[in-house]
Each structure stands twice: as C-alpha cells, then as structure tokens.
C-alpha cells in the first residue's frame, strides 16, 4: 500500500465490507462427503459433478486421497450429484440442499458384474421419468387435501342430518330450519371442494384399480348424486314449509335421499380406513376419537 492515500484504503475496506455483506445476504450452503467403494474404502480421484436442477449450472470437484469432496457457495434447492471413477459405475443421486451444510457420502459400485441390460431390461424400463414423478407428487398432494377435507366435511354433514330430524315436522320453528339450511349449505360447499381435489388429481396411466379404492369410488357415485339431489329437494321442501304447506310431492324424498347420501359418504370414508374395517384395529373407541381429532387438527 506504499503511496496509497489513507482515504482510498478506507474506501476500499468499506467497499469490500459492503460487498461481503451483500453476498452474505444470499443464503448459501455447502455440500461435502466421501466417495467409497462397496466395502466402504475411500475412492480417491473420483470425478464429482453437481448440477443445479433449476438452473442447469454444473460445478465439478475431485475426491482427495481420503475420498473426500467439497462444494461451497451453493444455493439451496435440488441438485444432481454425479460421481464417476475408473473401475466403478457412474452414479447419480438427487440431493436437496437446505440452508445448513450437508453431507452426502457416495457408495460406488464396481463394474465387471452383470448389467441391467444383461437381465433383459431395456432403457425404457430403467430410465427415470421426472414428469411422471411430478404427476405422482401432485396426485399425492391433492389426495391428501381431499382426505383431510373429506373428514372435515363429515362434521357439518352429520350436523345437517341431525338437525334435519327437527326441521321438517309440524312443530319445527323457522330458526331450526334456517340452521339446517345453513349447515347444509356449508356441507355442500365443503363437499364439492373436497370432490374437486379427487377429480382433478392427476391420473396415472396403466394402473389397474385394485382394493378398497374400488368401493370408495363406487360409493362416490351414490353420495355424489345425493349431494346434487338433496339440496334441490331441500329447497323445494323449504319453500313448501315457508308457505305453510305440508311437505308433499317429490320434496318428501329430501330426508331419505339425505340419509342415503350420508350413509354412502360414511361408507366411502370407512372403505379407505381399512384399519377400522378389516378387524386389524385393536384400539378402543377413545383411540378412534383421538385419531379423528388428530386428523382434523394436525397440519
């Protein structure tokens, strides 16, 4: 720094500090690990490359004499970690980096033995399909919401049916009917939202439907039809009662259709809860209640 004015040095220090603060503001992390052979012995000089799945940017490293590799200044996200070494099969792992430093050891397989093509598998059998995986992920996500909302819907559905017993008789008040109508409306809104997540969940081609899901789907046709008919019949019955008339005609079917709909809905829920239907479940009623509470309250 001979001959450099003190002010310039101070400015440079300040600039460096400011830049480092800006860099520090981005969340970066590190990935390190050890490349090993099938017996756990470190593999030196292995080529390790790390590709960011979002940006496609690739960084490379070489394992040291202890088989160790290290990548620094990585943004969090999904990466493809590809490792290759002489005498070993190239291996690709998917790693999900969080904001904290991560360790990922790589176990390589020695070449020389049979390959998948030796077993008669073709490339289509063995090659991964990221799009199909994304469809599966989306399907599971939507069906989880469907399951949770379906259980939540069961509560106002049951309340609607219970209040219905007191809403249609000769002695009923208009406030009881209003409560019944409000609960019915809430049930319908939740029901169709629940159905949306099942109907719109991606279908996986080439899958033969087996097991309790067949019963669940068959019952959906019954409670689905019932969920359309019940409010229509209910509106007709409500209007007749509001005019001071006895419920007559097709509107009389409102109650029975609602009960069938509720029963089919309950059956659809139970059909998937095989622990409660196949006799495997050994818990008590309070355990079942606890499960229901957990289902409704846990995220």
């Amino acid at each position: 720094m001979k001959g450099t004015p003190t002010g310039v040095v101070a400015a440079q220090i300040l600039l460096a500090f400011a830049l480092s603060s800006l860099v520090g503001a981005q969340t970066t992390t590190t990935l390190s690990g050890t490349v090993k052979d099938p017996k756990g012995t470190p593999v030196p000089s292995a080529k390790v490359s790390l590709k960011n799945s979002s940006t496609g940017q690739t960084t490379e490293a070489t394992s040291d004499s202890q088989g160790a590799y290290h990548f620094a200044d990585l943004a969090s996200g999904e990466y493809e970690l590809t490792t290759s070494a002489s005498g070993f099969e190239t291996k690709t792992d998917i790693v999900h980096l969080q904001s904290t430093p991560q360790t990922e050891d790589v176990a390589l397989t020695q070449t020389g033995g049979p390959s998948l093509s030796d077993l008669g598998f073709n490339t289509a059998d063995t090659k991964g399909n990221a799009e199909e995986q994304a469809r599966l992920d989306k399907r599971t996500h939507m069906l989880k919401i469907h399951q949770k909302m379906g259980l939540i819907t069961a509560v106002p559905l049951a309340a609607t049916i219970i209040t219905g017993f007191g809403a249609g008789g000769h002695q009923t008040s208009s406030s009881t009917r209003d409560l019944h109508v409000a609960l019915g409306g809430t049930t319908a809104a939740l029901y169709f939202t629940t159905a949306y997540f099942a109907i719109r969940a991606p279908k996986i081609s080439g899958t033969e439907t087996r097991g309790p899901i067949r019963v669940h789907r068959a019952l959906a046709w019954i409670h689905g039809t019932g969920m359309v008919l019940t409010p229509i019949l209910g509106i007709m019955a409500f209007q007749q009662k509001s005019r001071g008339e006895h419920i007559h005609g097709i509107a009389q079917a409102h109650g029975p259709v609602a009960i069938i709909t509720g029963a089919a809905y309950r059956g659809a829920v139970v059909s998937l809860s095989e622990v409660l239907t196949r006799g495997v479940y050994q818990g008590t009623s309070s355990d079942k209640l606890e499960i229901c509470v957990r289902l409704l309250t846990q995220p």
Binding site: G113, P114, K127, L143, E208, L272
Partner: protein, 184 residues
C-alpha cells in the same frame, strides 16, 4: 486314422475337458423364480407388498461370482392400487424405477447351507450397503433355493416415512427374499 492323428485329437479333447477345471470355468447363474416381499409396520396395521418380477444373473469367473438382481419398483403389489401409487410416489419410483441388489460371492458358496453376503442395494436414487446378510441355501435338483431377509430401512434411502392417519410407518421395511437360481 493313423496313430499320430489319433494322439493329436486325444490331446485336443483332453485339453478342452481339463482346461476349464485348471483355469477356472466361466459359468452363470440365472434367477428362475422369485418372490420379494417388503413389510411395512404401522401402529395400527401391517402391510406386505409382493413382487415376482425380479430378474437376476450371476457371472462367475475364476471361482468368484458377481450377482445382480433387479426389480421394477412399480411391480410391488400390496393389494391396493391406491396405496401402491402412494408408495411409488414416496419412494420416488418414477424417477428411479428400479431396485437393484449387487453382491460378490465365492463360487464355492453355492455348496453351503448358509451364505453371508455383503449387499449393495440401490433404491430411490440412493445406495445402501448391508454387510453380512444371512441367507439360507438349499438344493432342489439342478436348482438352488435361496431365502433370507434384507434388513432395509427407509432412512438408508433418505425416504421420509409416509403417514397413515397422521401416524408415520416404522423406519424398518425388511424385504423377505425367496429365490430359485439355475446354473447354466
């Protein structure tokens, strides 16, 4: 045929017969039949998923054999297509469609009643190493029947245990192996 020609043919024949024994014959084992069964434990119930779709081959040279067994993840059937699709999703079965098992054994192990194998299991994009896994071996004519259990765990493959009724399944998913191998 004169004597020298007969002697030459005899020597060639003798060489062809003896040489494989002297230098270590190349031989192969092929997986003929298999049943692989994973077992999932949940606080409320138990599930078994079965596949008969495994293919396998063992290549032997100089008394040492390399085996590879592979099975598509989607061929495991638990009796419920909905559960199988969830299992396929959670194990990233579309992205990594095969489970492979590799091992290296001495050819002489085929004569033992019990073998101890070090296995490299590749599943869900991860490889796990299982040391000293015990298998029972029995002879059935020209075939060898192998059975045992691989003590696989979900976290060996970085799989988050899926939940049923908000309760996660156990980390242990032992895979029962029953195989019939034929030597070629």
């Amino acid at each position: 045929m004169n004597a020298s020609a007969f002697r030459a043919r005899f020597l060639i024949l003798a060489f062809l017969v003896v040489s494989p024994l002297a230098f270590g014959a190349d031989s192969q084992w092929v997986l003929d039949q298999s049943t692989l069964t994973y077992h999932v434990s949940h606080p409320l119930h138990q599930v078994d998923g079965i596949s008969h779709a495994a293919r396998g081959k063992g290549v032997c040279h100089a008394g040492e054999c390399d085996f590879l067994i592979a099975v598509p993840v989607k061929t495991f059937d638990s009796g419920d297509s909905n559960r199988d699709l969830h299992m396929l999703q959670v194990t990233r079965g579309a992205q990594y469609p095969m489970v492979t098992v590799r091992t290296h054994l001495p050819e002489s192990a085929a004569n033992d009643a019990q073998i101890h194998a070090d296995l490299d299991v590749e599943f869900a994009g991860q490889t796990a190493h299982y040391k000293d896994v015990t298998f029972q071996l029995s002879a059935q004519g020209n075939e060898k029947r192998l059975s045992g259990t691989i003590p696989t765990k979900l976290n060996d493959f970085k799989i988050d245990p899926p939940s049923l009724l908000t309760m996660p399944i156990k980390n242990d998913i032992p895979v029962r192996v029953d195989m019939t191998w034929k030597q070629q």
